[in-house]
């Protein structure tokens, strides 16, 4: 997908799944939630969000329904499906493994070799 330059490829999907797993959200809410839980480290480009959301719906990880937002606007809310939840767990495990491995590699000292 074009223009996901700030994030590692594939990480946007994981971030969205995680954000939505904490409670159903509309698109703008997803952005805010990611900003909030990453303490501002990740700024998702707004135009890239919707294609990702749409793709996750199509793949069956999210389902969307119309609802009313806190300021009384119609908004589309996204929530995890059961496959979405399973996918999140898998992604989390493999991500943790990757991070641990990278940590070991990057923490290696000359005498360890």
């Amino acid at each position: 997908m074009p223009d996901q330059t700030d994030l590692l490829p594939g990480t946007l999907d994981l971030l969205i799944l995680k954000a939505v797993s904490l409670g159903s959200l509309h698109g703008y809410g997803v952005l805010l939630r990611i900003e909030q839980i990453s303490r501002g480290a990740f700024l998702v480009e707004q135009g890239a969000l919707y294609p990702a959301l749409f793709r996750l719906v199509r793949q069956g990880y999210l389902k969307a329904s119309w609802g009313t937002s806190d300021n009384n606007r119609r908004a589309k809310y996204y929530e995890l499906t059961s496959t979405g939840r399973r996918r999140l767990r898998e992604e989390q495990t493999s991500w943790n493994r990757l991070v641990a491995a990278m940590g070991t590699v990057l923490g290696a000292e000359p005498e360890e070799v």
Binding site: M1, P2, H26, G27, Y28, E45, Q46, G47, A48, Y50, P51, F54, R55, V57, R58, Q59, G60, S69, N71, R73, R74, A75, K76, T81, T83
Partner: protein
């Protein structure tokens, strides 16, 4: 679950597209609104908050576009959209659209026309079911030089009775019928067929029925099935025709069926079919070497051609191993099958392949032309495309879009091309040779033709779209935006590529010109061949006496004597005669004979030659030169000494070192020995060039000819020949009148002058050559248009350069020379490449060339000169435009 979600989304995106668009729109607007509300809450003014929110969201158009790309039906959606866009683009640029569509349509139309002829004649002839399951039975005589001739009734009986191989089988022989209804009797073309004839071809009657086995019996042959054409012509398409009685050969026949318009086997001009009704003894084994029938069969389902052919060879061994006769072994007799399609394709294969190659060249040139136009257009489009790329159109999407534009072009080209093909077939049928004689319905645009056209149309799109797409994918949008329309690198490579295309077009055009030149030269050589006799001023007409009325040789001979007597004394006639067969009627029968005192050793099939039955006037009217002895005279009649005349070839073969005059020969064992009284010159008999090939029947070419006096034996049929000092067409009335005076019920048929018959024999070659001329002109014209376009474009691009040069003192001639030098270079490159390619390709033509080498330097040089002249002419027009450039205007122009 995942699949379900996908399907749901596919259905939604296909059928609820508007709903989805609205949803997306609303969702994105809600997003911006919420963001702006948040910003407002943090203290910004509403207007500023809305502005910042929009800015933060970025291009909403781009977001919507990328969401759309996620949709499963995205591909279809954009296809429709791009198709509409493509049409709009073409409409915006009508000049380009018309030229491109017409160019493409010419290429596609030429290919479709040739293919539909191939399809209609050979691959899927109309009115025939599964033509690939039909086989033709043939025999050969290795020792006699007969490679593939028709079969005898016993040969056929063997195949017919092999029901494990043949599902149905039929035998046919052509037979003409005298039909008298109106004031003048008419000769109808008929075929006598065994009862399964129509089954073999899988043809069903339009009205009524086909023959039953009971009707296919000797002396029971009084039913007739009409062809659609005859039904229309003779009976006005009368729906009540069934059961009606028609008089054919003075006998009553009952109409039992009418065939549909498509079915015309064995002859496109067939009028009617009657049962063959062969007597039982015709199938006796001692009749094996008496070939006069076309044998066809439909293979049983599951039986392959190879199996059937192998089985036929086994059948042949029954004859070869027959202890009672060694003739089959001695003459290297054999029996085999040929697929119907290749039987019909036969001699036409090479010319058709040549034409197919020619039209492929035309299409290639058309493609190169369109590619050139697209490249020129790409120059003006490049900014638009770059803009779109900069605004977020993905490169793949842009390439896909230009591709769809080209497909739109291709579809239009296919449609117009089909129209051109139809028109082309219609026009060329006017000039078609007899073997093509048929109306347009014989070459319908059926599923096969349509698929072929679509495939080559799309292939053409791929070819002509490749170059611009390649350029597009290699160009940098920033570059294109900066490019001011001239003197940029991209522009130069584009121009160089166009030059390359045009040189290629010129090369292809040259190859076609060379091939056409060779064929025309060969044709003119053939028509200068001396046939060995004097055809000028000779009028001829066919006669066939009905068996019922002229049942004895005496009656037949009396009839011919009476007619010839009248003819000889008619005004304007200097000489009259009769005989069978006549030169250049396609008929050339041959037969074994015996020479007195020449024993036939074991393993020797014996003497063999072409046989003719003629009156004395046959030689004098046709001007066949007498070399030795005498012609026949009126004294050679029934009851007098049997005589014969041979031609120089036969004299050379059987009496190489002695005088053949006075030697004796005979055809059958029971015939009297005939004394050879004369030797005449050899004449060309079926065609001016090449072998005197046979056409069905037990006919062939042989090394010699022997003549018997027609009025000494029997005369059931023959051609009347009358010679005049002037225009022979004046004699047609004379001929008709002479016959009418003797028997008003006898029609004459096939009336034609000898010169016309010879010209007719060249018609297939003329037809192929004239088509090739059309294609060569088309190809050269298209490449000239390509060159014209290239030079015009380059002149337009260089207007300011020309202006500067002129301001610096260049005169018009210098400018003209500058532009022409460039196109002369292209023309020379194209010619050079074309000469080399042509050198290799024209070899394929050698087999159809007569007395001309495939490397004939004259044809090569002529084609090269013609091409260079055309190329210079094509570039002269735009070059002159360049000389008219006003330096002031040109320099101000930017």
């Amino acid at each position: 679950m995942k699949l379900f979600a996908y399907l749901q989304s596919l259905v939604a995106s296909l059928f609820h597209r508007d709903q989805l668009e609205r949803d997306l729109d609303e969702e994105l607007r809600a997003h911006v609104a919420q963001h702006s509300a948040d910003l407002e809450r943090s203290g910004l003014s509403p207007a500023e908050a809305a502005r910042r929110a929009r800015l933060a969201f970025g291009s909403s158009a781009k977001a919507t576009e990328s969401v759309r790309e996620q949709r499963p039906a995205f591909f279809l959606e954009t296809l429709v959209q791009d198709f509409r866009y493509g049409l709009r683009q073409l409409r915006r640029n009508p000049g380009f659209a018309v030229v491109a569509v017409l160019t493409l349509a010419l290429g596609i139309g030429a290919n479709t026309a040739i293919f539909s002829v191939v399809n209609g004649l050979f691959l899927h002839p109309p009115g025939v079911k599964q033509p690939d399951r039909i086989v033709v039975q043939r025999v050969r005589y290795g020792k006699l030089g007969l490679k593939s001739i028709s079969v005898s009734a016993p040969d056929f009986a063997q195949l017919r009775d092999s029901q494990n191989v043949a599902q149905s089988a039929a035998l046919e022989t052509e037979a003409d019928f005298n039909y008298s209804a109106g004031a003048f009797p008419e000769r109808l073309r008929g075929a006598m067929v065994s009862w399964q004839w129509f089954d073999v071809f899988g043809a069903r009657p339009l009205l009524g029925r086909a023959f039953t086995p009971e009707e296919d019996q000797p002396k029971a042959t009084h039913e007739v099935v009409l062809s659609h054409a005859a039904w229309q012509r003779l009976f006005g398409g009368d729906p009540q025709i069934l059961g009606r009685t028609v008089r054919l050969n003075m006998e009553d026949f009952r109409v039992i069926g009418v065939m549909p318009p498509g079915f015309a086997w064995p002859n496109p001009k067939i009028d009617l079919w009657t049962p063959l009704g062969l007597p039982h003894d015709a199938f006796a084994l001692d009749n094996t070497f008496n070939e006069s029938y076309l044998g066809v069969a439909r293979l049983r389902p599951g039986v392959s051609f190879a199996q059937a052919n192998a089985y036929t060879k086994v059948l042949a061994h029954r004859v070869i191993d027959n202890p009672a006769s060694t003739y089959a072994k001695d003459s290297q007799w054999g029996m085999f099958l040929v697929p119907l399609t290749s039987f019909v394709f036969g001699d036409l294969q090479t010319p058709i392949l040549i034409l197919a190659g020619a039209v492929a060249f035309v299409l290639l040139i058309a493609c190169a032309n369109i590619a050139g136009l697209l490249l020129a257009k790409a120059a003006s489009r490049s900014k638009e495309l770059a803009l779109r790329a900069a605004l977020g159109g993905s490169r793949a999407r842009l390439i896909l879009q230009t591709m769809t534009e080209n497909v739109v072009l291709g579809v239009l080209g296919i449609i117009v091309g089909l129209l051109f093909a139809r028109l082309g077939i219609y026009l060329s049928l006017v000039a078609a040779p007899p073997s093509f004689e048929s109306d347009v319905t014989a070459f319908p645009i059926d599923g096969y033709v349509l698929s072929f056209t679509i495939v080559i149309g799309l292939l053409a799109v791929l070819i002509f779209a490749a170059a611009p797409a390649w350029h597009l994918s290699n160009s940098d949008p920033g570059d294109a935006l900066r490019e001011s329309g001239r003197s940029s690198t991209a522009g130069r490579t584009r121009q160089r590529f166009r030059s390359f295309l045009v040189a290629g077009e010129l090369a292809l055009g040259l190859v076609l010109l060379v091939g056409t030149g060779l064929l025309l030269k060969s044709l003119s050589r053939i028509s200068q061949v001396n046939p060995g006799f004097q055809p000028h001023g000779v009028m001829t007409a066919g006669l066939a006496l009905p068996q019922s009325q002229y049942d004895t040789p005496e009656k037949q001979i009396a009839f011919f004597r009476a007619v010839l007597d009248r003819l000889a004394h008619a005004p304007g006639v200097t000489s009259a005669g009769a005989g069978s067969p006549l030169p250049f009627t396609g008929n050339n029968p041959s037969a074994s004979f015996a020479i007195e005192g020449l024993p036939v050793g074991p393993g020797d099939p014996g003497p063999w030659g072409d046989v003719r039955y003629v009156t004395p006037g046959y030689f004098t009217s046709l001007g066949i030169p007498l070399l030795k002895g005498r012609y026949f005279t009126d004294a050679d009649r029934t009851g007098s000494q049997a005589v014969a005349i041979i031609d120089e070839n036969m004299a050379r073969q059987y009496w190489p070192n002695e005088d053949p005059i006075g030697k004796q020969l005979r055809r059958g064992n029971r015939d009297p020995w005939a004394v050879i009284v004369g030797v005449v010159g050899h004449i060309r008999f079926t065609q001016l060039a090449g072998d005197d090939a046979s056409t069905g029947g037990s006919q062939s070419s042989s090394s010699g000819v022997y003549y018997f006096p027609m009025l000494q034996t029997e005369a059931p049929y023959g051609f009347l020949i009358a010679k005049s000092e002037g225009d022979p067409s004046a004699l047609s009335g004379t001929l008709r009148q002479a016959v009418h005076d003797v028997d008003p019920n006898q029609p004459v048929s096939d009336m034609s002058s000898m010169d016309a018959r010879i010209a007719e024999s060249l018609r297939p070659q003329r037809f192929a050559a004239s088509l090739l001329v059309v294609f060569a002109v088309l190809a050269t014209g298209l490449s000239a248009v390509g060159l014209y376009g290239l030079v015009s474009y380059s002149v337009a691009q260089r207007t300011s350069e020309v202006g500067i040069r002129m301001a610096l003192g260049a005169n018009r001639t210098d400018i003209l020379r500058m532009v022409l030098r460039e196109s002369a270079r292209l023309a020379l490159i194209g010619t050079g490449v074309g000469l080399v390619v042509g050198f290799f390709i024209t070899r394929a033509l050698q087999s159809v060339l007569y007395d001309v080498s495939a490397y004939d330097p004259g044809s090569f040089a002529g084609a090269a000169i013609a091409l260079i002249l055309v190329a210079l002419l094509a570039s002269y027009v735009p070059a002159r435009k360049a000389t008219r450039v006003d330096p002031i205007v040109a320099l101000r122009y930017e």
